[in-house]
């Protein structure tokens, strides 16, 4: 780890402010609650579309429940409702504890909280009344975009204040967070305004691809990995395996990740040399990802038992396995050879679920599993329910990802073989039915999680194991 935390360890109780001064636990809680609410909104959207695809949608033909609109709610509620809210809650815990400084202003924090819920809520309503913007992952109606932009700026200011006050080299987590604050702001601005107001056609496609990609790569990914670099060493009670690999991982991601957007639109009229460039840098970033994954597995090496005993660690490392699978898959599917077959198919949908649920949602659920007992000052009501939450989430996702990947191959072959279009639909049916059951497992897991959370909240207060180091050291 860095000099930062070493220094803190050497002077344990001198200048270290205590936890309560740094962290506003209530806002962490509220962000997590908001995140879970939007998680369920997203699940609802997913189910509507899934039932429509197997032609058993009981709400077919009702404008407000149109699966087309709810499909957009599905993706946006996960990106801006669940992931963003959960990340913000996590940041309110991590940043002050890591910098030993509170955020810029607690009132500002609450203002941002309220404003962000308005933004996400308005996005959902806007999409449901048919005002979506024609940009994937950016369907937020154009009249909300400026508000969201201001919100992102305020978030950056609020968290950058304690980070800026740091002296000398800073810890890995903060590299990722600093970059994420800037990138998220820039990515949102680029994606939502440029293809709408500045350019059209193929150029807009290039920007749109860049946006879809950067939203995952420059907003979700850096926050996710920054979070891992913080929680994993704390829970395993040892430093990250290799500082050098951390550097390679961060700088490799920072350089290669933003260059890949166009790989979402291969074989479009976008110039071919740009498509090749995107393919090359995508393969390059998979090598970088390997270094990060190796670094984390080097860290847990010798502590394998923690994977089974420590539930949050299990969430984190399961997420990393899914991350590795995603990236290995990505290096293959980004090639033009694979694209001929799998583009436009459910393979891509499977890939998206693998990343957004298998990796980042699993990590955040792990963080929640770790933090809720500390926030509520109570142990989990039922460890068994926690176990069920984990296994059904991970198992459901694994089935869904495999199922959709296979479905994609069959669809691709059907189209390529010039079968009548209906053939690709019929061939998909068994896979789509399987997907519903996988989705049900994943949804039920979250219901169990909510029940467990409620029972934990409702039970009488008890002593809880103090988070690692009562003074906010790490």
């Amino acid at each position: 780890m860095t000099t930062q935390s070493n220094a803190a360890e050497q002077t344990p109780h001198q200048t270290v402010p205590n936890h309560a001064e740094l962290v506003d636990e209530r806002i962490v809680c509220w962000y997590f609650f908001a995140a879970l609410i939007f998680f369920f909104a997203s699940l609802a959207g997913g189910f509507l579309m899934a039932f429509q695809l197997i032609r058993h949608n009981p709400l077919n033909g009702i404008e407000f429940f149109s699966p087309g609109r709810w499909r957009m709610v599905h993706t946006n509620a996960i990106a801006y409702g669940f992931l963003a809210n959960a990340f913000l809650g996590m940041l309110h815990w991590v940043v002050p504890r890591l910098t030993l400084k509170p955020v810029l202003d607690k009132r500002l924090s609450w203002f941002i909280f309220a404003a962000w819920q308005v933004v996400v809520g308005a996005t959902a309503v806007g999409i449901l009344i048919g005002h979506a913007q024609g940009l994937e992952w950016g369907e937020t109606p154009v009249w909300i975009d400026p508000l969201a932009q201001v919100g992102l700026l305020l978030v950056a200011i609020n968290f950058m204040a304690p980070i800026i006050s740091q002296q000398g080299p800073i810890y890995v987590t903060l590299w990722y967070f600093i970059a994420a604050f800037i990138w998220t702001f820039l990515t949102y601005a680029m994606g939502n305004f440029v293809p709408q107001y500045c350019v059209s056609g193929s150029s807009a496609g290039a920007v749109g691809g860049l946006f879809i990609h950067d939203l995952v790569g420059l907003f979700v990914t850096p926050l996710g990995w920054g979070m891992m670099y913080y929680f994993v060493p704390i829970m395993l009670k040892k430093p990250i395996w290799s500082h050098g690999l951390s550097l390679v991982g961060f700088w490799g991601l920072a350089f290669f990740y933003p260059l890949q957007g166009i790989h979402h639109f291969l074989y479009t009229p976008i110039p071919m040399f740009l498509q090749y460039g995107a393919v090359m840098s995508t393969i390059a970033v998979e090598l970088v990802v390997m270094t990060v994954v190796i670094n984390f597995f080097g860290t847990i090496w010798g502590d394998g038992k923690a994977f089974w005993e420590n539930l949050p660690i299990r969430y984190f490392y399961t997420g990393m396995v899914f991350y590795f699978i995603t990236c290995a898959q990505c290096a293959l599917q980004v090639t033009l050879t694979f694209q001929q077959l799998i583009h436009f198919s459910d393979w891509v949908v499977g890939h998206a679920h693998l990343v957004m649920f298998g990796v980042f949602s699993m990590w955040l659920l792990g963080v929640m599993t770790y933090l809720f007992p500390r926030l509520l000052k109570k142990e989990w009501y039922s460890r068994t329910m926690c176990e069920w939450h984990f296994w059904m989430s991970a198992g459901g996702l694994a089935v869904m990802a495999l199922d959709l990947t296979l479905a994609g191959l069959f669809q691709g072959w059907s189209w390529m073989g010039l079968e009548p279009w209906e053939h690709s639909i019929e061939v998909s049916q068994p896979f789509w039915v399987t997907r519903i059951f996988a989705g049900m497992a994943m949804a039920l897991a979250q219901v169990i999680f909510l029940c467990n959370l409620y029972m934990t909240w409702a039970k009488s207060p008890a002593k809880v194991e103090e988070p690692t180091g009562a003074p906010a050291t790490a």
Binding site: R55, G61, I178, S203, L218, H264, L274
Partner: protein, 254 residues
């Protein structure tokens, strides 16, 4: 530098982002600078105008109610149709986006995977240089077929019924129903319905190959499957004949 605030902030945060934006976004924009961006008015072509006036013939009452009546004078009527058609194109595109049509139907034909045989000519940049492609509606998923060469392939009647209840025309289709584009009956599209019909009849109307019908040979696999099906059916009918007689015949032949 690699672990400092300013290094991360300026080099990773701003510089690397800027490099990517310049090479992946500004560069293609500059490359297509010479292509004029067309307005909806400029997009109205003869094929589309024919389809639009055809809507007035097929749905006279709805057209009158939701779009209006053209002026008596012929020249003014032509102007009026052009204006209305451009308006409906814009509205149709908004509905296409708002309903999420573009999440299940792509709008570009790739030069691979036999797509040009199924859908029509491969997509070209200049086709997308217009205000209706802000942001561009390439799409990333095909549950239903590509629509960029859909214009003229099917009649507006077909589309109306299909929007109202897709399974009436395409049994087994997973496409949702859109009764809110109609006043209770597929013969009575409302303003939104007429707009979407106009938009769909625009897609590909600018091509020389208009209207492009699916024009492809039965694939080798499909041929084999059909032959296998036929043989199975023959075998089934042959099996109906009493087997004993057949065996006897064979015996007597010998």
């Amino acid at each position: 530098m690699f672990e400092s605030k300013s290094g991360v902030l300026f080099i990773a945060g701003l510089l690397f982002f800027a490099i990517a934006f310049l090479s992946n976004a500004v560069l293609p924009a500059l490359m297509y600078q010479h292509l004029e961006e067309k307005t909806a008015e400029q997009l109205v072509n003869a094929n589309l105008r024919y389809q639009f006036e055809d809507l007035a013939q097929r749905f006279p009452e709805s057209f009158k109610e939701h779009i209006g009546t053209p002026p008596e004078e012929e020249e003014k009527a032509a102007e009026w149709y052009d204006e209305q058609c451009a308006d409906m194109l814009r509205l149709g595109r908004d509905i296409y986006v708002g309903e999420g049509c573009w999440h299940c139907h792509s709008q570009f034909v790739r030069p691979v995977s036999n797509e040009s045989e199924r859908f029509g000519p491969v997509a070209r940049s200049e086709e997308y240089q217009n205000e209706l492609q802000r942001p561009v509606l390439f799409g990333t998923r095909r549950v239903g077929p590509d629509l960029s060469r859909e214009s003229g392939r099917r009649s507006s009647d077909w589309h109306a019924v299909h929007f109202f209840k897709p399974t009436d025309l395409s049994p087994g289709s997973p496409m949702p129903e859109y009764p809110w584009f109609f006043d209770g009956d597929p013969a009575k599209p409302n303003r939104r319905g007429l707009a979407l019909l106009t938009y769909v009849q625009w897609l590909g109307s600018w091509l020389d190959s208009y209207p492009y019908y699916e024009d492809y040979e039965e694939s080798a696999i499909a041929q084999l499957e059909r032959r296998a099906d036929d043989e199975a059916r023959e075998a089934a009918t042959a099996g109906d004949e009493p087997e004993g007689e057949k065996a006897n015949e064979e015996l007597t032949d010998e």
